[in-house]
């Protein structure tokens, strides 16, 4: 008499991962859209909304066609550590009923795929903060397509796939995307901001709608539970731990940024508190499935110190126009988080991760290597993409278009009525 094999699919895990995918979608639209939208000048708000929204649309399509295959699919021969093949083109062999035991053994493979899709969506959307208020829309579309294909997919593959160089071969730890998403987007932002040069007439943002910034930041905090706790790909203790440390680090970071402002400029601001919270969310991302509450407090309190100094002192000194601080917050926050993972990861939380303070000193060096790889790769390829687009169709909006506003010049649309 045979026994029927147990169905590996777990209903609770599947429900949580699908929910998490929806939560991460909300981080891009409307979370990031409003967060960035409120921070630009009135005449450019729609460009932020449009780019975030269309990022969701464009990447969603590319992901199911070839993106998932390149990022998570098996790599072949020489390419295996760097990029996947097209084995899963159009989700061939990506099942809706059976799991992929390498990535998530208790949920349908397509559930994992759609969850990862939302990460691929938000990463290029983060970059738009650096070149806000001065890019042509047609150039932006090409940037997004090329960047997803030649930067995001390789980095995701290198850190997260079963044959990836940084993750699988070196053993770098990145629970939910500190390197893949935040450092990657942040350094790409810097590369494009440096390539394009400063906006005309100003290098300071013109914050036109602070309530939007707060709504956006709150949605980011809310959705990030899907980002981090969802990365446990199970409804269990690890997801719970990730949820708890995410909230804790974020809260600590919000307090810390407000404190920095109180000390250095005399008053704490809501934009500062929101910026701190976002920095905390970024920093806890790679560490969320590896650290405990103590570690998360250190991570949160310190990230705001680093990022605040970056945006308030270093950026004005060097004068680069990283408009909405994708580099200052996402790269620096992600870098701190990735290194902090090498410090504070404890086996007690996750047997797969142990850091310096847990007695595993080599992990820190592995984190450094992975950070260097991501930084150099992303910077160089992003710069090349900007160059190619600029030399073919031109990347920057014309000065007249920039002065009139990206909304009117690129979309023939006005956000707010002046007369009825």
């Amino acid at each position: 008499m045979g026994t029927t094999p147990a169905n590996p699919i777990n209903a609770g895990d599947t429900a949580w991962v699908l929910t998490s995918a929806a939560l991460v979608l909300a981080m891009t639209a409307p979370g990031l859209a409003l967060f960035y939208g409120g921070m630009v000048r009135r005449k450019n708000v729609l460009s932020m909304l449009m780019q975030c929204f269309m990022c969701l649309a464009i990447v969603s399509v590319l992901w199911v066609v070839y993106g998932y295959s390149l990022a998570f699919g098996p790599g072949h021969g020489f390419w295996a550590p760097f990029i996947g093949g097209l084995d899963w083109f159009m989700l061939k062999n990506v099942s809706i009923s059976a799991p992929n035991a390498d990535y998530a053994g208790t949920i349908p493979h397509q559930a994992y795929m759609i969850f990862q899709c939302m990460f691929a969506v938000i990463t290029p959307a983060l970059v738009i903060g650096s070149f806000a208020e001065r890019v042509k829309f047609s150039a932006w579309v090409w940037f997004t397509v090329l960047w997803l294909t030649f930067v995001y997919c390789p980095v995701a593959h290198m850190v997260w796939s079963t044959t990836g160089l940084a993750g699988h071969t070196w053993g770098a730890l990145d629970f939910a995307g500190g390197t893949v998403v935040h450092m990657n987007a942040g350094i790409a932002g810097l590369a494009s901001a440096l390539y394009l040069g400063k906006r005309i007439g100003t290098d300071k943002p013109g914050m036109h709608n602070v309530p939007f910034v707060m709504i956006g930041a709150s949605l980011l905090w809310f959705g990030w539970f899907g980002f981090n706790a969802g990365s446990a790909v199970a409804a269990n203790g690890l997801a719970t731990s990730a949820f708890v440390v995410t909230n804790t680090a974020t809260a600590a970071a919000a307090i810390s940024w407000a404190a920095m402002e109180w000390i250095f400029t005399g008053k704490p601001t809501i934009v500062g508190a929101c910026s701190g919270a976002v920095a905390g969310l970024v920093a806890i991302t790679p560490a969320s499935g590896f650290v405990d509450v103590g570690g998360s407090l250190w991570i949160g309190f310190l990230v705001s110190v680093f990022c605040y100094c970056m945006v308030a002192f270093v950026k004005p000194k060097f004068g680069y126009d990283d408009t909405l601080d994708a580099f200052g917050v996402h790269y620096i926050g992600g870098l701190w988080g990735a290194l902090a993972t090498g410090l504070f990861a404890v086996k007690a939380i996750n047997p797969n991760g142990s850091g310096l303070f847990d007695g595993n000193a080599p992990q820190l060096m592995i984190q450094v290597k992975a950070c260097l790889l991501t930084t150099v790769f992303s910077f160089v390829v992003t710069w090349l993409i900007c160059l190619i687009i600029d030399k073919t169709i031109g990347m920057r909006a014309t000065p007249e278009d920039e002065v009139v506003g990206i909304d009117l010049s690129q979309h023939h649309e006005r956000a707010y009525t002046i007369l009825d």
């Binding site: 920095m260 250095f264 008053k267 500062g272 004005p316």
Partner: protein, 113 residues
């Protein structure tokens, strides 16, 4: 005919309007403006970096009047807007060569009131 332009504190607008109505001045145009005189604005910071500009919100009234209404209008505005503190505002009186009522085509003093 004169055009009386007054810049006043936004929170005094209601008082100014009531005084004008009491002085039988009922036709006014009001707009929101930014500006400063000797009243100092408040610094604004974005992520630790000081924003440029310390302009304050003000309200601008424009009132077209016949000659005999100039003094009553000025008195009414002062009565409604004065608090005695720096920032009360200013009144400008300029010549108004022509005034036309769109609905009827009337011109001059008849069109003002």
């Amino acid at each position: 005919m004169k055009l009386v332009i007054a810049i006043v504190q936004p929170y005094k607008l209601e008082d100014v309007k009531q005084e004008l109505y009491a002085a039988n001045v009922n036709l006014i145009t009001v707009s929101e403006v930014l500006g400063h005189g000797r009243q100092v604005g408040v610094d604004e910071f974005y992520r630790g970096v000081k924003e440029t500009g310390n302009l304050l919100r003000k309200v601008r009234l424009e009132i077209a009047v016949n000659e005999d209404f100039v003094e009553p209008t000025i008195k009414a505005i002062i009565k409604g807007a004065r608090t005695g503190k720096i920032g009360d505002g200013k009144i400008f009186v300029t010549d108004l060569p022509r005034c036309i009522r769109i609905r009827t085509g009337e011109e001059g003093s008849k069109a003002i009131g």
